[in-house]
């Protein structure tokens, strides 16, 4: 009798602990996204992709109820992104600066983690990991484990005191780190940084006309994309010319909430070419030569997944 009671008790307790854990992992991420949205901070981080490294500076603050954010890529020709409330402006070399009406900067940190994480529920599990020391501070590991094995997992290390992000990594199914982001410095201040005050006074380009609002995106009729990993939804489908080489492409944008995947269908290049992949960090570019047309898939997904997507594209009848 006592034995039974002990078993029942232990089962109840362990489920209790398990429930607590999921709540905690989720709560920690929620705390992180609100910390990122509420605090005034000046942070530096690096993104390491294979042999490459990109250093960034990231400023955020609130000035008289206006939410301001600056993200700068410090190496090479650079990239500078600023956000004033719901307008995000991208400054890039060789391109006129332009604005988009969105409330989050698309940078090296997946946007969803800086906002509402509930959209990830359908595609990822939240698992609490161990505690570690990152950037000189005690941190808690939270793992986003993909429910579909054809995707990467995402690991985050969150500061136990401030709930700010200290480290993050794309990890494959064999637990190998493919691309990581590491904070090197952060200062949380009472007052926002002076650059943010300066930004508030500037005039930014007006946002590009809002997206077509004829409801959910209609699947383009020319092509059928036969297979996608679970959880990916179509966000956009159109035909447009690519900026750099002026080539025409039928374009599809998909997202599972965490990562985006682009599918391009183009006129084939001449000559005999085998299909193949190219990777940089977690990003895969897969070019599939389907004979009468070329399918290219770009996104932070495994090579095998990109290959399967590309090969599933058929001309619709």
């Amino acid at each position: 009798m006592i034995k039974w009671l002990a078993v029942v008790l232990s089962v109840v307790l362990s489920t209790q602990i398990f429930a607590n854990e999921t709540i905690n992992a989720r709560q920690l991420l929620k705390d992180m996204s609100s910390a990122v949205q509420e605090r005034n901070f000046d942070a530096s981080f690096v993104v390491v992709k294979g042999k490459g490294m990109e250093p960034y500076r990231w400023l955020h603050g609130q000035v008289e109820q206006t939410d301001l954010e600056i993200l700068t890529l410090l190496n090479g020709a650079g990239l500078e992104v600023v956000r004033v409330d719901d307008v995000v402006t991208y400054f890039e070399p060789q391109t006129e600066p332009y604005s988009l009406s969105t409330d989050v900067i698309a940078g090296p940190i997946p946007e969803v983690l800086l906002r509402d994480i509930s959209t990830l529920d359908s595609s990822y599990e939240f698992v609490l990991g161990g505690k570690e020391r990152i950037a000189g501070r005690p941190a808690q590991l939270v793992r986003l484990v993909a429910k579909d094995e054809s995707k990467f997992n995402y690991w985050l290390w969150v500061d136990l005191q401030s709930a700010l992000l200290l480290k993050a990594a794309y990890v494959n199914q064999d637990s190998e780190v493919l691309e990581q982001l590491q904070l090197t410095h952060i200062s949380v201040t009472e007052r926002p940084a002076s650059q943010l005050l300066e930004l508030k006074e500037k005039t930014l380009p007006t946002p590009i006309a809002a997206l077509s609002d004829d409801g959910p995106v209609k699947q383009q009729n020319n092509w059928q994309i036969g297979w996608l990993p679970n959880g990916f939804k179509l966000l956009k489908a159109d035909r447009h010319k690519l900026d750099l080489n002026n080539e025409l492409a039928d374009y599809f944008l998909y997202s599972d909430g965490l990562v985006e995947v682009s599918v391009f269908v183009q006129r084939p290049l001449t000559g005999q070419r085998a299909s193949g992949a190219l990777t940089s960090g977690a990003t895969t570019v897969y070019v599939h030569n389907a004979g009468a047309f070329d399918v290219s898939v770009v996104g932070k997904i495994p090579v095998e997944t990109a290959k399967n997507i590309a090969e599933s594209v058929k001309r619709s009848l």
Partner: protein, 201 residues
């Protein structure tokens, strides 16, 4: 006099550390001349004809600084006025606190893919479960069958295709990056319309 003696000492110390005749310790670290050490190491590499020993003297930083400080000659008054105007203008420039370095203006994302050479090498009848990878370093000689590579015209055509493919991949990566910027807003939109529809029903 004592100064030069000290220098000679340092030189000797640096050289001894390089030759592993002396251990690098906290005590003698101050006496190690880092610049000299790097030069000695480079000289050693060149003399031993080590591979990849191309002398790489990094002067980019000093050149960039010099360019930035260089006064602009031949500037007409109009241009000067324009520059002044753009300085006063309230529209944000590429960077608030630095001058844009137009000389090195290559979109970072494009650099990502052009640095890695694209090369087709896996024959298609390869029944490997693994997807063929476009080689990140050009494999010389093994790329094309001998009969093809002996014809220069074919070779150059092939190179042209490779160049086109490289360009295309650069364009695709950049386009993916640009389109992804709208993803968050788009997904919020789709969700909203889905919700509205549900409420309507």
């Amino acid at each position: 006099m004592t100064q030069s003696k000290f220098d000679v000492n340092n030189e000797q110390m640096t050289s001894e550390i390089l030759d592993a005749e002396r251990e690098l310790k906290m005590g003698n670290q101050a006496q190690l001349d880092a610049d000299k050490f790097a030069r000695y190491a480079l000289i050693g590499d060149v003399m031993r004809q080590k591979e990849q020993s191309t002398p790489c003297i990094d002067i980019t930083a000093s050149v960039a600084a010099a360019i930035a400080d260089e006064p602009v000659y031949n500037m007409t008054e109009e241009e000067a006025a324009q520059e002044l105007q753009s300085k006063n203008s309230n529209v944000v420039q590429m960077s608030f606190w630095r001058r844009p370095l137009s000389q090195v203006a290559i979109a970072a994302s494009v650099a990502l893919c052009t640095v890695i050479g694209v090369n087709n090498f896996t024959p298609q009848n390869n029944i490997d479960a693994q997807a063929p990878m476009l080689q990140s370093m050009p494999l010389t000689g093994t790329v094309a069958p001998v009969s093809l590579s002996s014809e220069p015209a074919m070779q150059s055509a092939e190179r042209g295709v490779r160049e086109l493919q490289k360009q295309r991949i650069g364009a695709l990566v950049l386009e993916h990056q640009r389109q992804s910027r709208m993803a968050h807003a788009l997904s919020k939109n789709t969700k909203q319309t889905e919700k509205d529809k549900q409420e309507e029903n």
